[in-house]
Symmetry: C2
Subunit: 210 residues, 2 copies
């Protein structure tokens, strides 16, 4: 199981978002939609062992988390508008602190990023995508760290990155910093690179077993 | 200079496309829009040494090519709708066989994929992204083939892949097949992986020079 958490600093968390204005009035929801596509889609199907957690911090309501579960996902296409439409539906559900399914494979609840990380940090290795982190490919080459990657929770900022308060929470959760390469890239592109490294790891492991 | 050519088998090439229906009535234009974003965007800017050539084969008119030039690009954001809007504008220009600029950095002309490849094949190394190709990372590690990648023209299919006729043209142009890893991925994700390999190559070269 792999999990991607994306912090949407301005992402709107209540009311009806406009699918025609995901970058504007929906608070750079386009960034989150691209992350969903990068995390879940391969050419002829879906990655079923992945959860994507979208942290919607942009108001007007209290912080919400929308989860896309690869395992049970239906009615999702790779275009931004498709993911946006499922987020729109999730935001129209009357949310509580218990996760509710809004459409097949999409879940919503009132929760903060700190709460989510609290639930995960004891049981999973946490990685924080950051330019000054350890190189992803070198980490994947080392047997010991590679095993952690395979079961990793990966935290990414949006176009604004991760603000100081959240960075402190990440640090306190004992996250390891990870970098995808020499350029600072879009969050969705980082996810593609992580998954490719994991695909290559699985292939190498399978070849070694033969 | 790097060039990406994406073959849009069903991509509409005349009339006003709907930005609200890029995957449907515009003929999977969303695939091409994501490729533009993957090829041109880094976190805080644009890759200026890249051209993206979109081959619009889906009618109702004759085949057109829309080129996004990183060098002179303006008014492009990373969301699909933004690239879609510039393609929409390009399709409303009265096209000829001479390239015309529709908006800053976007150009349109009547031309076929075969013509474009004819122009490029004598002067540039051509790569064709295909599952059974040579591994990208291994190719990047070999000094001789790495030099070719740096100056490469990369051809990708859309969600339908590349049909037999076009594959024959690619073969006759002497293209080398290249694979990005063990999974078959979306075209836009392949572009991200190619550019990451090139970024890593540049970094290694810079470190070796020091």
């Amino acid at each position: 199981m792999k999990d991607f958490i994306i912090i949407g600093n301005k992402a709107v968390n209540a009311g009806k978002i406009s699918l025609n204005d995901l970058p504007g009035s929906a608070g750079r929801m386009d960034v989150l939609c691209r992350c969903v596509t990068s995390a879940l889609f391969i050419s002829f199907g879906m990655r079923r062992d992945i959860n994507v957690w979208l942290i919607l911090k942009g108001g007007p309501g209290p912080e919400k988390i929308v989860r896309f579960s690869g395992e049970t996902m239906r009615s999702l296409n790779p275009d931004e508008r498709s993911a946006g439409s499922l987020i729109q539906k999730a935001l129209l559900v009357e949310a509580s602190e218990q996760e509710k399914q809004s459409t097949p494979g999409v879940f919503v609840r009132y929760a903060t990023f700190a709460q989510l990380l609290e639930e995960m940090k004891e049981v999973r290795p946490i990685f924080y995508l950051k330019e000054d982190g350890a190189d992803l490919l070198k980490t994947a080459e080392n047997d010991e760290t590679a095993a952690l990657l395979e079961n990793g929770v990966y935290i990414l900022g949006d176009n604004q990155g991760v603000f100081e308060g959240d960075e402190k929470i990440i640090e306190e959760a004992g996250a390891k910093k990870l970098s995808v390469g020499p350029q600072s890239l879009l969050s969705s592109h980082c996810i593609t690179l992580i998954l490719n490294a994991l695909d290559r790891m699985s292939q190498n492991a399978a070849e070694t077993d033969e």
